[in-house]
C-alpha cells in the first residue's frame, strides 16, 4: 500500500463530497428557516405539515432518506413534466438537504424559544411585525444560542455525506472502494483508517470555524439559559 498514491487519489473525489455538503448546507439552512417559521407561528395545516416533515427527517435513517430521494425524485420530475435530470449526485443533494433542513429546524426552534419570553412580549407590544421582531430583537440573540447546535448539525451532515455512495455518487468513500478493489482487497482496514482521518479532519475544520464564531459572538451573549444542544448523533 502506497499512501503517497492513495491519498491524492482519494482527495481527487473530495470536490464532489464538498459540493454535496455545501449544497445541503445552504439549501438545508433555507429550508430550516422556512420550516421553523411555520412551526413557531402555528398556521393551521401548514404547521402540521412542517411538523410531519421534521419528524420524517429526524426519525428515518439517512440511508433510507437518500434511497427515497433517489427513487422518488424521478416520479416528482415526471409529474412536473420536465426533462429527467436526476442523477445520483442530484438525488444525494436533494436527500441530504431535506435531512439537514429537518435536523436544523429542531436546532433553530429551541433557540428561538430560548430567547427570554419578555423580549418577545416587548417587541410584540411595540408593534413590531414578525419579520422585524426576528431581524432586530430575537434573531441576533438566537444566533448565539443556536451556534453549538449548528456546529453539531454540520458535523453530522459531513458524516452523512459518507453515505451517498450507496445511491451511486462517486464520492470519497466510493473512490476508496475502487482503490481497495484494485489492490485485490488486501488493505481494507488501512484504507478505512485513512478515510477516518480524512473525515475527522473535515469535521475538525468545520468545528473550528463554528467555534471561532462562537468565541467572537461571546460578548453578545444574552443572559438567558443556553438552549440544550442536542448531543445525540443522527444517522
Amino acid at each position: 500500500m502506497d499512501l503517497s498514491i492513495m491519498i491524492p487519489e482519494l482527495l481527487s473525489a473530495l470536490p464532489l463530497t464538498l459540493a454535496i455538503t455545501f449544497t445541503a448546507m445552504i439549501a438545508g439552512f433555507l429550508l430550516a428557516l422556512v420550516t421553523t417559521t411555520f412551526r413557531v407561528r402555528r398556521i393551521p395545516v401548514v404547521s402540521q405539515f412542517a411538523d410531519f416533515y421534521v419528524s420524517y427527517a429526524r426519525s428515518v435513517p439517512v440511508v433510507l432518506q437518500l434511497f427515497v430521494a433517489f427513487y422518488g425524485l424521478p416520479l416528482v420530475v415526471a409529474l412536473l413534466d420536465v426533462e429527467d435530470f436526476v442523477s445520483p449526485n442530484v438525488a444525494a443533494m436533494v436527500g441530504l438537504s431535506l435531512y439537514h433542513g429537518g435536523y436544523l429546524s429542531e436546532v433553530l426552534r429551541p433557540a428561538y424559544l430560548a430567547v427570554e419570553r419578555g423580549q418577545h412580549d416587548a417587541a410584540d407590544s411595540l408593534g413590531y411585525s414578525f419579520l422585524q421582531k426576528l431581524v432586530r430583537v430575537v434573531g441576533p440573540q438566537a444566533v448565539h444560542i443556536a451556534l453549538p447546535g449548528y456546529g453539531n448539525a454540520i458535523i453530522y451532515l459531513i458524516h452523512n455525506v459518507a453515505l451517498v455512495m450507496y445511491i451511486g455518487a462517486a464520492d470519497v468513500m466510493a473512490t476508496a472502494h475502487l482503490v481497495m478493489e484494485r489492490d485485490y482487497n488486501q488493505y481494507q482496514f488501512e484504507t478505512y483508517l485513512v478515510l477516518a482521518v480524512i473525515y475527522s479532519l473535515l469535521c475538525l475544520v468545520a468545528w473550528s470555524i463554528v467555534r471561532f464564531f462562537e468565541k467572537r459572538n461571546a460578548r453578545f451573549a444574552p443572559n438567558t439559559a443556553r438552549a440544550k444542544a442536542t448531543v445525540m448523533p443522527s444517522v
Binding site: 428515518v60 435513517p61 440511508v63 433510507l64 416520479l75 453515505l163 481494507q188 440544550k228 448531543v231 444517522v235
Partner: protein, 228 residues
C-alpha cells in the same frame, strides 16, 4: 410507476424484521449506557489520566462517521479477537464471528461516546445542595447515590435516552453494508424481489416513523409518572 397493490404484502415482509431490529437496538442500548455511565462517572469524579483517555475516546468516536467505524470493526475485529484469544491460549477463529455481533460491537463503541455525554448532563443537573443535606443527615456516599441521586438523575436522562434508542435504531440501518438484516435491509431485499423500490422504502419510512412515535410517547408517559 407507483403501485399501491404491493404495499400491504411489503408491509408484512418488512414488519418481520422489526423484532430483530428492536432486540439488537435494546442490546446496544444496554451495553452503551453501561459503558457511557462509566465514562461519565470518570469525568464527574475527575479521576486524573482516565479522564483524559475518556475525552480522547469521545473525540475520536464523534469525529468518525459510523459507517467507517462499522467497516473498521468488520475488517479489524476478527484478527484482533483471534490475537486476544490466542493470548489466553484458546484457538478461536475470529472470522467465524457472525456479522451481527460485529455490528453490535461497532455501534456500542460509537454510541457509548454519546451516552457518556447524556449521563454527564444528567449528573450535572443534580443539585449539590441536596448532597450537602444528605451528608448532614448522616448519609453515606453509596446511600446518597442510591436514595437521592439515582432517582432524579434517571428521570432527567429519560428524554435523551429515548432519543438515543431511536438513534441506535437508525444506526442499525447501516448494518446492511455488512449483511445484517434490519428494517431497512429487509425493505431492500423485499424491493429486490418485485422491483417496486419506492413502495418498499416508503413502507420502511412508515415503520420507522411509527416506532419513533411510540418511543417518544412511552418516554413522555414514563417521565411524567416518574417525575417528583
Amino acid at each position: 410507476m407507483f403501485d399501491s397493490e404491493v404495499l400491504l404484502p411489503d408491509l408484512w415482509d418488512i414488519l418481520g424484521a422489526v423484532p430483530v431490529t428492536l432486540a439488537m437496538a435494546l442490546g446496544i442500548f444496554v451495553f452503551s449506557t453501561m459503558i457511557g455511565s462509566l465514562f461519565a462517572m470518570v469525568e464527574y469524579r475527575r479521576i486524573p489520566l482516565l479522564r483524559e483517555l475518556v475525552v480522547a475516546y469521545k473525540v475520536i468516536f464523534k469525529g468518525v462517521p459510523m459507517v467507517i467505524v462499522i467497516f473498521l470493526a468488520y475488517y479489524g475485529l476478527p484478527p484482533t479477537s483471534r490475537f486476544l484469544t490466542s493470548l489466553v491460549g484458546i484457538d478461536y477463529n475470529g472470522h467465524s464471528t457472525p456479522n451481527w455481533i460485529t455490528l453490535i460491537v461497532a455501534l456500542t463503541l460509537c454510541v457509548s461516546a454519546f451516552q457518556a455525554e447524556v449521563v454527564k448532563g444528567a449528573l450535572n443537573s443534580f443539585d449539590n445542595g441536596q448532597a450537602e443535606a444528605a451528608y448532614s443527615l448522616g448519609y453515606r456516599k453509596t446511600q446518597l447515590f442510591r436514595r437521592v441521586m439515582l432517582p432524579q438523575v434517571i428521570v432527567a436522562a429519560i428524554p435523551d435516552l429515548a432519543n438515543s434508542i431511536m438513534v441506535i435504531m437508525k444506526a442499525l440501518s447501516l448494518g446492511f453494508a455488512i449483511e445484517v438484516v434490519d428494517i431497512f435491509a429487509q425493505s431492500q431485499l423485499t424491493a429486490a424481489l418485485n422491483f417496486y423500490y419506492l413502495e418498499a422504502f416508503l413502507i420502511a419510512v412508515f415503520v420507522y416513523m411509527v416506532i419513533a412515535y411510540i418511543v417518544t410517547f412511552v418516554a413522555d408517559r414514563l417521565e411524567r409518572s416518574l417525575r417528583v
